[in-house]
């Protein structure tokens, strides 16, 4: 009845007073895939997830999750989804095990199955050693994993993850990514929101870009990257007078037009063979005696995608440096 789609949302509207949090938002997510929902702060990601997970009512449009209407069949939807909100929603006083057992019982597994499932999930999320410690003493990564485990108790058909790695160190981030991959291997469909193109690229097979409550692009990660032109090599020179020479050097390794930012004394251009391009540029600049401040590779960020799609930048400070 859901013809291969785990999520199907049409023209979703959500208003908060004058503010349109969602303004005709469309989304389809294929069963068994990871779908990324990418957008800057305030784009409407959380609002979309909260509507799809039945936490808030929609003001207009239609949404189905696992073939069920989120408004009319909310209870049935809840039995088939898992939700990991933007902030870890676990009980900080209880231990990890007590949390999972409590949620298991509230998922109506009954005491025996709830206990068995808790043991299984603690193992799967590498929390067995910390199982009987209070969650208040957990690290951010452990708390996130417990949160994920709690949303997995019923092995849901559809799992919503709202910025699952924001605020985590790289190691914990990797752990979360691993868990997500394992879930999908088990047949779960995942809708994941993120502010990082890199994260969507790593996990998702398809990405919807959202801005001001509207989907502005829906593509594969490669499609989006092609749109912004993949990796770029970037040179910052010491003085304005050096710019023209730097442009020439950069143009030689690039397969596109170099772009200059006169104020920042910066030249950048798209490259395909990243490492070779970088070493080539560095060598030539030194040979020709161009005085440079910095040379680096820059990966396309959410900001670049936005600039390309909307013509305006996001207001998010991006971490886009991948220095050589």
């Amino acid at each position: 009845m859901n013809d291969g789609y785990a999520v199907r949302a049409e023209a979703l509207e959500k208003r908060y007073g004058e503010k349109r949090a969602l303004d005709g938002f469309d989304l389809v997510v294929r069963e068994g895939t990871v779908h990324g929902l990418l957008g800057p702060n305030g784009a409407g990601k959380t609002t979309a997830v909260r509507i799809l997970s039945t936490l808030i009512r929609l003001d207009g449009g239609r949404a189905e999750v696992a073939g069920l209407d989120v408004t009319r069949q909310a209870r049935e939807v809840r039995a088939r989804i898992g939700l990991t909100g933007q902030y870890a929603a676990v009980d900080e006083v209880l231990t990890g095990r007590q949390n999972l057992e409590m949620f298991g019982r509230l998922f109506h597994l009954g005491g025996r199955r709830a206990r068995a499932r808790a043991v299984e999930l603690l193992e799967q999320f590498d929390l067995t050693d910390a199982a009987d410690r209070g969650v208040g003493k957990y690290s951010g990564g452990m708390r996130r994993r417990l949160d994920l485990a709690a949303s997995m108790i019923l092995a849901p058909a559809v799992l919503f993850l709202d910025e699952p790695t924001t605020g985590l160190d790289p190691r914990s981030r990797g752990e979360v990514w691993e868990s997500v991959r394992a879930l999908v291997a088990g047949g779960t469909t995942v809708l994941l929101t993120t502010q990082y193109l890199e994260e969507a690229d790593k996990l998702a097979s398809r990405i919807t870009v959202i801005d001001q409550g509207r989907a502005i692009a829906d593509d594969t990660p490669d499609g989006l990257k092609n749109l912004v032109g993949g990796d770029r090599v970037e040179v910052v020179v010491a003085e304005r007078a050096e710019l023209p020479r730097a442009v020439k050097v950069v143009a030689r390794v690039s397969d596109g037009e170099p772009e200059t930012d006169e104020d920042a004394l910066r030249v950048h251009a798209p490259v395909t063979d990243r490492v070779n391009a970088l070493t080539e540029v560095a060598r030539t600049l030194r040979d020709e005696g161009v005085r440079v401040e910095d040379i680096g590779l820059r990966r396309p960020s959410l900001d670049d995608v936005f600039l390309r799609l909307t013509g305006h930048r996001t207001d998010v400070p991006q971490s886009k440096e991948a220095s050589a």
Partner: protein, 273 residues
């Protein structure tokens, strides 16, 4: 995949699961106390300390209109005060759960969402029984001698009845205040409200207008009714509300519930706006 059979929701009906969910929320609330013994010590320690402090410090200096020992007058008032402050505990837990997203998690699950609030209420009543029990033992140790029997049980019931009504104020405020820190400020509001009542001093000893306010304070009725039922000095008062303390101790919580239960429910429903 999971070795646990996760499918096949049970043969039980809706009412069964409402009660089961409620029971699980209560279990969670009580486990909190078990894991944080300091909290329960503080929560019980405060009333005990109050009983000792007010009993011994003010005990000799205060008089009760119509005669009688001040300590005997004070004890039921202390029980009422503990019940009255209870709404702060309710609010603190609710604000914590709603700001930390725990309530959202419950709401995204196939459980009965009314169990979240109902379970909180039952937990609070269980804790209130423990508080009353411990305070009464302390009071007995200090020489308080109530009448036993049905009157005693009725007084106990009226105290819990007041606590029940205050659950809804607690839930409502818990969903209203923006963060746990703000909930701490509720104490500053609650303290004067309990002072302007018959808990410590008989209203007729206060300035006219203040005495009138104190007499009509809902918790004064519970205090006066409890005193009457315990057979300890009541402290007189001939205004209508003081003459009908037993009636009003039953009516006030109804009034509070009728006002605040719908407000709390509305706040809860507003979460899904």
């Amino acid at each position: 995949m999971s070795a646990v059979d996760l499918t096949g929701p049970s043969r039980h009906g809706r009412l069964y699961w409402l009660l089961a969910d409620c029971g699980n929320i209560v279990r969670r609330g009580l486990t909190h106390y078990q894991r944080q013994p300091v909290n329960i010590a503080w929560q019980l320690g405060f009333p005990i300390l109050s009983v000792l402090l007010y009993g011994y410090v003010f005990g000799s200096a205060m008089t009760v209109p119509g005669g009688g020992d001040y300590k005997d007058f004070l004890m039921p008032g202390m029980f009422v005060m503990t019940m009255a402050f209870g709404f702060i505990n309710t609010a603190t837990v609710v604000v914590y759960d709603s700001t930390k997203g725990v309530i959202d998690r419950f709401r995204s699950m196939p459980m009965a969402s009314s169990a979240v609030v109902a379970g909180r209420g039952v937990t609070d009543l269980v804790v209130a029984c423990a508080e009353l029990g411990i305070m009464m033992l302390t009071a007995l140790a200090m020489g308080w001698r109530p009448d036993g029997g049905w009157g005693f049980l009725a007084a106990f019931g009226l105290l819990l009845w007041l606590r029940f009504a205050l659950i809804w104020i607690g839930v409502w405020l818990g969903l209203l205040v923006p963060n746990p820190e703000a909930a701490g400020g509720l104490f500053a509001v609650a303290f004067p409200l309990t002072m302007i009542s018959s808990i410590f001093v008989a209203p007729q000893l206060m300035p006219d207008w203040l005495g009138w306010v104190a007499a009509w304070n809902p918790i004064s009725s519970t205090a006066a009714a409890a005193r009457e039922l315990f057979g300890t000095p009541v402290g007189g008062g001939d205004s209508w509300v003081e003459q009908h303390a037993l009636l009003m101790a039953g009516v006030w919580p109804v009034v509070l519930t009728v006002i605040f239960l719908p407000l709390a429910v509305r706040r809860f429903q507003r979460l899904s706006r």
